[in-house]
């Protein structure tokens, strides 16, 4: 391992994870908690994709399809078996099983030949499944998707404490310290309801899966994946069965993607083609992994967080900036029109890829 341990990278990742752990208490509001939960889910998804793309060097376009399988597994089980926890677990398990089996089949048929063939097959299968899901509306709800109920313990209606917990609003912090604002505004009420429980279910699952994937990447198995990525021919020549390793990692990453999908379904209480299957999500995922840095699990954490924050708050930020410069610099204000946020997102991504070709994590790691 040439990777010198970098305290900067560790600090950034620790800060992100700590912020996610305290998110409901630090960032008040439904929207903030929703963003935090989505970040948790996509960290799992992006890290599992990085196992394929960054560690094994396999390009797949079906990763979001596996994600969708986990989500639809939960949705279908909750719809047909009732809202209780066993049904939910069964649904997640079934979605995961289907994902792993399908991944194994795709791998068996295509990874023997050439890695590029695998990419094309995954593209075809993912498109076919997406069409199938929107056509089989009797089962999947078609384009409308499925709304369903989750166990009571995880729904907003469940109350755990009679008194709300106390959170802190960082936005009120300067006022509290310098005595300008109302001191009372510093503290916020956090309801100890099922939604909070659901958030911590998602967060804890993310931590466990992330730790598992991290372990996998530093294991002998992970080292073989990197060897195959670096020189497939020599890996084969020193006696590794390259195809088996490729199929194994394809199945593992598909299974974890399905679990991420199941978590997402539990959080949203809804699944639909646009939220858990669409090709745009696949493109987002690729961007998150590339921006964060391929070949390091921590890169996924950073990439997802940046991407989600940019997507969620760039528009607000631009509106604020536009308001600030509107009077003095009307020309600049035109560019900062909040409706143009996608353009700015694009520019930010191009810049980040240009300046950090090895991703942000790669940059933080060694300064190489």
């Amino acid at each position: 391992m040439t990777a010198r341990r970098s305290w900067l990278l560790a600090a950034v990742v620790a800060a992100i994870l700590a912020a996610l752990a305290a998110a409901p208490f630090l960032f008040p509001g439904v929207r903030a908690m929703d963003t935090a939960a989505r970040i948790c889910v996509f960290i799992v998804l992006a890290a599992s994709y990085d196992l394929l793309l960054g560690y094994a060097g396999i390009v797949s376009f079906a990763h979001v399809m596996f994600f969708g399988m986990g989500a639809y597994g939960v949705a279908l089980a909750s719809t047909h078996l009732g809202r209780e926890a066993p049904g939910l677990v069964l649904g997640a398990g079934a979605g995961m099983a289907v994902a792993v089996v399908l991944a194994a089949l795709i791998g068996l048929f295509s990874l023997r030949v050439r890695a590029i063939f695998f990419a094309m097959i995954t593209l075809a299968v993912a498109s076919a499944v997406a069409v199938l899901v929107s056509q089989l509306s009797g089962l999947t709800g078609g384009e409308d998707g499925l709304s369903f109920q989750i166990p009571r313990a995880l729904s907003p209606a469940a109350k755990y404490l009679s008194e709300p917990l106390t959170g802190i609003d960082p936005a009120a912090l300067p006022g509290a310290i310098f005595g300008g604002g109302e001191t009372g505004g510093l503290f916020t009420e956090v309801k100890a309801n099922g939604k909070l429980a659901a958030y911590y279910l998602v967060f804890a699952s993310m931590l466990v899966l992330l730790a598992l994937m991290r372990r996998l990447t530093v294991s002998p198995f992970g080292s073989v994946l990197m060897a195959i990525r670096e020189n497939e021919f020599r890996a084969e020549a020193i006696g590794y069965r390259v195809v088996r390793y490729r199929i194994a990692v394809t199945c593992i990453s598909a299974g974890i993607a399905a679990l991420a999908g199941a978590l997402y379904a539990v959080w949203l209480r809804y699944v639909g083609p646009d939220t858990v299957l669409g090709f745009p999500i696949m493109v987002d995922l690729l961007l998150m992994v590339v921006i964060g840095g391929m070949g390091t699990i921590w890169g996924a954490v950073i990439g997802v967080t940046l991407f989600m924050l940019a997507r969620g708050y760039l528009q607000d930020l631009m509106a604020a900036a536009q308001g600030a410069v509107a009077a003095d610099l009307p020309a600049l204000a035109v560019f900062l029109e909040p409706d143009r946020w996608l353009m700015w997102l694009g520019i930010l991504f191009i810049l980040s890829v240009y300046f950090f070709p090895s991703g942000i994590a790669g940059r933080l790691k060694a300064g190489r």
Binding site: T2, E230, A237
Partner: protein, 259 residues
């Protein structure tokens, strides 16, 4: 009966042939490699030495003929399967894991040898047994001081040494070296050749060496086989083969066409 036929050969090729289109690159080569022996394979450029190696180690498929490892037919097995059965190969053009460290390259080969690649829940860097062994091997090939460097940062000569180390790490029964010292500096080459020489005479092992330098061959080889246009031209003790008329002719011819 000649000594050849009474003793079991560790490795044997029978009528090994490969055609690329209409061109026959290796043409019916039959040869036995005995335990403890170091066999040099010589021949002018384009004689089919490396192609013969590729056929034996399984990098390319034979059009005809067989490869036997300890009497068992391995002709249809992949390169990877042959390696697992005890054949090891170092390449003429350095063929390493470029983004990984020197230590990791060697460790990966040892991990493959031990069949530990599918362990998912232990730490690769926690396997002290392999790491210690890898460090010992790096010390032998004088690369220990560069253990943490990525391969891409190594000089050509050091990469060649690592190429040899990867083969040693596999601890195969059949060692196949393809010009191990090509491109190495004059003070490094003898050391690597010493390592190769150290493999001679060991029970259960045989060494195949493709080499151009005649002084090296004369010193190391127990036996020489000469390939020319894919055909086995001569086979015997070094002095006998090198002084034979037919070999002189082949090399003289080569020298003349080169001019």
């Amino acid at each position: 009966m000649r000594r050849d036929e009474t003793e079991t050969a560790l490795l044997e090729t029978r009528g090994l042939t490969v055609r690329f289109g209409g061109h026959v690159a290796v043409d019916g080569v039959s040869c036995r490699f005995r335990e403890g022996e170091l066999t040099a394979i010589v021949g002018p450029n384009g004689a089919g030495k490396t192609t013969y190696f590729n056929l034996v180690s399984g990098q390319i498929r034979a059009s005809a003929g067989r490869v036997l490892l300890e009497g068992r037919d391995v002709t249809r097995l992949s390169a990877s399967a042959r390696t697992r059965r005890g054949m090891g190969r170092a390449f003429q053009l350095t063929n390493l894991f470029p983004g990984l460290s020197v230590l990791e390259n060697v460790r990966l080969a040892m991990q493959a040898r031990e069949g530990r690649g599918f362990r998912m829940f232990s730490r690769a860097m926690g396997d002290w047994e392999l790491l210690d062994e890898a460090e010992r091997l790096l010390q032998q090939v004088r690369l220990l001081s560069l253990a943490e460097m990525p391969v891409t940062a190594l000089s050509h000569g050091d990469q060649r040494k690592l190429e040899v180390a990867l083969l040693m790490a596999l601890e195969p029964r059949v060692f196949m070296f393809d010009e191990p010292t090509a491109g190495m500096s004059a003070d490094e080459a003898p050391h690597v050749l010493d390592l190769v020489a150290g493999l001679k005479g060991q029970p259960g092992r045989t060494v195949l060496l493709v080499e151009h330098k005649m002084d090296v061959i004369r010193e190391l080889a127990d036996r020489i086989i000469v390939l020319h246009n894919g055909v086995l031209l001569a086979d015997g003790p070094p002095d006998e083969v090198m002084d034979s008329e037919i070999v002189q002719e082949v090399y003289m011819g080569q020298a003349l066409t080169d001019v």
